[in-house]
Each structure stands twice: as C-alpha cells, then as structure tokens.
C-alpha cells in the first residue's frame, strides 16, 4: 500500500524531471541575443500601457463557487460508488436523494443567473 504511493511519488518526480531536463538542454542549445524591443510584452504592435494584471469579471468567481459544490460532492459519492455492489436499495435511494439535492442547487444557481456567461 505504502509502496504504491512511493511509486506515485517517484513518478511525480520523474514526470517533472523529464520536461525540466529538456527545457534546460534547449536553453543551452538555443541562441541568447536579448534586446529591449524583443523582450517587450506583446500588445498588438503598440507600446504596452497600464497594469498587465487586469480586472476580470465576477462571473468567474460564480463558476468557481458552483464548481466547488460539485467537486466536494465527489468526496461523498465515490465511497458510496465503491460500495454500490453490496448495498440494498435503501442506501441507493439515500444517495439518490443526495444527488437530487445537488440538482436542486444547480437549478437554484441556474434561476439566479449564476450560469449565464455575460
């Protein structure tokens, strides 16, 4: 069991290590001739102006909040799904009620206009 996670850890290191090495090799091989014009921020051909980290719509927060609801739901539903084969109908109905509450939440967000792209 612990060995499984050791493998995952090793794989995580390797999967970050391989692209890093490729980037370092490319950095060594490539030419390095920076100049101020080349290094300026891209702005459709005009001089850069103002803050680059611009304001953004509050709509993104609403999507993120709705997403969070369903993402947390996964933690509750996966153990139920693993044990599904040994459950009686009663437990299945309980989980269905839980899913229906989530669907109600989705309907509420929908009616409140949280899902409209503005």
């Amino acid at each position: 069991m612990l060995a499984d996670w050791l493998y995952i850890g090793i794989f995580l290191i390797i999967s970050l290590f391989l692209p890093s090495v490729a980037l370092i090799v490319a950095g060594i091989l490539g030419p390095k001739k920076p100049n101020p014009v080349k290094n300026s921020t891209y702005e459709c051909g005009v001089e850069t102006f103002g803050e680059s980290l611009t304001q953004f719509k509050v709509q993104y927060y609403l999507y993120a909040l709705v997403f969070l609801v369903f993402d947390v739901e996964a933690i509750f539903l996966y153990p139920w799904a693993v044990a599904y084969q040994v459950q009686t109908v009663f437990y299945v109905v309980e989980a269905i009620i839980f899913v229906l509450i989530l669907l109600f939440a989705l309907w509420y967000a929908w009616r409140k206009g949280a899902l409209e792209w503005v």
């Binding site: 999967s15 970050l16 080349k38 993104y60 996966y78 693993v82 109905v93």
Partner: protein
C-alpha cells in the same frame, strides 16, 4: 514464464534478481525498479508524442485534401524529429516583468500533469505503473493540476491577453470537471473498485453497453478537458491573439502542444480502459502481450475519432460551450447516475442479457425524451428579429444630378 508470454514481468524479475545478486537489499532493489519503471514509462509516453504529431498532421492533411508531411523519410514520418531538432535550437524570449518561477514552471507542469496520468493506467494485465486503490480520484486530482499550469502561465506572463485567456480557459476547464467527476462514478459503481486494473477486470461486459449515454458524455467532456476542437477556446486564436501561451517561445511553447497531443491520446486510452474493456480480449489473460495489442487497437479507434472531430467540426462560442456544460451535460450526467443506480438494483442480475437490454432500453428512452425537451426549449427560445429595416443609405443622388448636369449643359 517465457519472455514472449509476458516480457514486462520477465524483464522485471530478471532485473530484480540482477540487483539482488549485486548485493542490494530487496527494498532498495524495489525502489530502483520503481525508478527504472517510471523513467521508462515517462520516456515512452513522451516519445509517443513524436508519432502522434505526425499522425495527426497526416490525417488532418488528408481530410483537408492535402498530402501532409511527405518529405522527411518515408511518408514524412521523420518530419516531427526534424521539427524537434529545430525547436530545441530556438531562442527563449523571456519578456520583461514575468514572474520567473511561475513562467518557467507552467510548461513543465502542463506536461508533467499529463504524464502523471500514465502512472495508474493498466497497459496489460501485468504491465501497469501501480494499481492504486483510489486511481479514479487520482486521475481527477492530476487532471486539475493541468488547469493549474494554465493559470500559472497566464498569471506569470505579465500580459493582458494571457491573463484574460487564462481566466477563461480555467473557467472552461473547471466547469467541464463537473460532468467528468459524475460520469467517472459509473464505472466505479459497476466495478466496485476505484483501481483501474480492477475496473478492467470487472468488464466481462464492456461498460459502454451498460451505460452508453454516460460513455458519450465522458467522451465529449474529456475532449473539452483536453481543449481540442470543437472546444479549443483555450487557444482562443481568433479573439485573444494566442491564449494563455502568448508570451512563450521555443520549447516552452512547444511543451504546451506536447501536453495537448499527449493528453488527447491519454483520454482515448482512459476511454478504452474505462468503457471499452481495456486490455480485455480473447487470450489476454493467458498471454498478457495480446492485451497490449487489444488496448492499442481500441485506443487507436477512439483517438482516430478525436482527430476526425477536430478536422470536421467548427469551434463553439464560449457562452454556447458553458451553456452546453452547465445546462445540458451536468444535469444529464446526474440524471443518468440516478437512473442507472436505481435500475441496476431493480433489474435481476442473474441473466446478464436482461441487465444489458434493460440498460440499453433505458438509455435510448432517456435520449428520446431529451430530444423532445431540447426541441421544446429550442422552439421557446427568443430569437433576435432580423427583419429588414429601412436604413439611410449613402448613395449619390444619381437621377437629380443627371438632371442637373443635363440642365446646366443645355
């Protein structure tokens, strides 16, 4: 155990015995084997991308009535290798004011997040990184790491377009996580385990026959997760210059596309594993090598469909895409979860035939009802009036000028 029956186990045992023979303790030999295995799997996956890029360019070229790459090597098969040689010798242009760490971490993380998926996918009965007992949750978690790479790239680039595109891309990607999470519940439910190898072993009937609509939703959602056409708004070439990767150059830029191609193949692999029976096939248990062949055939079919979709469908608009996710796919996937869970308990499980037919009939019924509902909604949707209005036209007053001209001349 012969080499030809199961080369992976054969090599593994040979290497383990070799290491122990050199006087290494068994635990350390295991760690070394883990390193070798992870390195081999990661390298193989990255080398696969070389082939995938060539394949995609060739297929899309044929669809668009072109030849595709055909100069370097037979059928242009070494074209990608030439491209790699070029991209490795390109200059890294780092714009002023970037957040150095985030800017350089993003491409590495975007490839790394896709590679990490390969740790849990079973390629044959015996050849898999690890049969993790929470593999499905691991896939979701690692998948969300890829979205982290997108937002790091956008935020670290110090560019307005990159920031805007990153927010939009992340809004798309996290939205499509929701039906993905719900659809992944069904294979777990049928198999009674989250380990991918256990899920494959449980598929005496392919899960696509038990849950066809869910499989379809999973397919659509995973294409959106990868950000391929018709969901390639992550790139946003037409409105936000190039999307979140605008300030990247050379191999750093290339890595976002390596991640894209590898991710597309990986979701095809996941689809084949979760819904098409993975390595299962006649003789795959006695001869694990055959399992790899079966898996690759199934994956190629799915991957080919992904390429065909990219070549043939136009791009969605962003609001259409969010509506498709939140107002159709999410409620539909949850409805399918409820109906399937209920029906699977109510149907008698002893004759397998009854179970399959019951599930398929239920899925077809849901599709028919959905079709009627969509028609109703479409009919009630308010449409903008496009009737012709009388507009002032900047037309030279021809008749009067002619009259005036004739008047002055005469």
């Amino acid at each position: 155990m012969s080499f030809w029956v199961d080369p992976y186990r054969f090599l593994l045992e040979w290497l383990r015995n070799l290491l122990i023979g050199w006087g290494l303790p068994a635990d350390w030999a295991q760690v070394v084997l883990f390193f070798v295995g992870a390195f081999a799997l990661g390298t193989a996956a990255l080398l696969l991308v070389v082939f995938l890029i060539w394949l995609e360019r060739k297929v899309v070229g044929r669809i668009q009535d072109r030849l595709g790459p055909n100069r370097v090597g037979p059928w242009g098969i070494f074209q990608t290798i030439a491209d790699i040689g070029k991209i490795f010798t390109k200059e890294f242009i780092t714009p002023v004011g970037v957040d150095w760490l985030l800017y350089n971490l993003a491409p590495v993380l975007s490839v790394g997040a896709v590679l990490m998926l390969w740790a849990v996918i079973p390629l044959t009965m015996t050849l898999y990184g690890v049969n993790l007992n929470v593999a499905v949750l691991y896939i979701i978690a690692v998948g969300e790491l890829g979205e982290m790479a997108v937002i790091l790239a956008g935020w670290g680039s110090n560019n307005k377009y990159a920031v805007l595109a990153a927010f939009r891309a992340v809004a798309q990607l996290i939205s499509y996580e929701v039906p993905l999470i719900v659809t992944l519940l069904l294979p777990v439910m049928f198999a009674g385990s989250m380990g991918l190898n256990d899920i494959v072993q449980a598929q005496s009937v392919w899960f696509i026959f038990l849950a066809p609509v869910t499989a379809l939703i999973f397919f659509i959602v995973s294409i959106a997760e990868v950000g391929r056409a018709p969901f390639d708004l992550v790139e946003a070439e037409s409105e936000l210059v190039s999307g979140f990767n605008i300030e990247y150059s050379g191999l750093k830029f290339g890595f976002f596309f390596v991640a894209d191609f590898l991710h597309a193949f990986t979701i095809a692999l996941l689809f084949a594993t979760l819904f098409l029976g993975g390595w299962r096939g006649p003789g795959a248990i006695q001869y694990p090598v055959l399992g790899f062949v079966y898996l690759m055939i199934k994956t190629s079919v799915v991957y080919f469909i992904v390429i065909l979709l990219r070549a043939s469908l136009p791009r969605f608009r962003i609001d259409q895409m969010m509506n498709l996710n939140w107002k159709l796919l999410t409620p539909l996937s949850m409805t399918m979860l409820v109906l399937t869970a209920l029906l699977d308990k109510l149907l008698p499980s002893s004759p397998l035939f009854v179970r399959i037919v019951g599930m398929v009939v239920m899925n077809v019924l849901v599709l028919l009802i959905l079709n009627q509902i969509l028609k109703l909604v479409e009919n009630r949707r308010p449409r903008p009036v496009v009737a012709p209005v009388v507009r002032p036209v900047a037309r030279p007053p021809q008749i009067s000028s002619v009259q005036n001209g004739s008047g002055t001349s005469s």
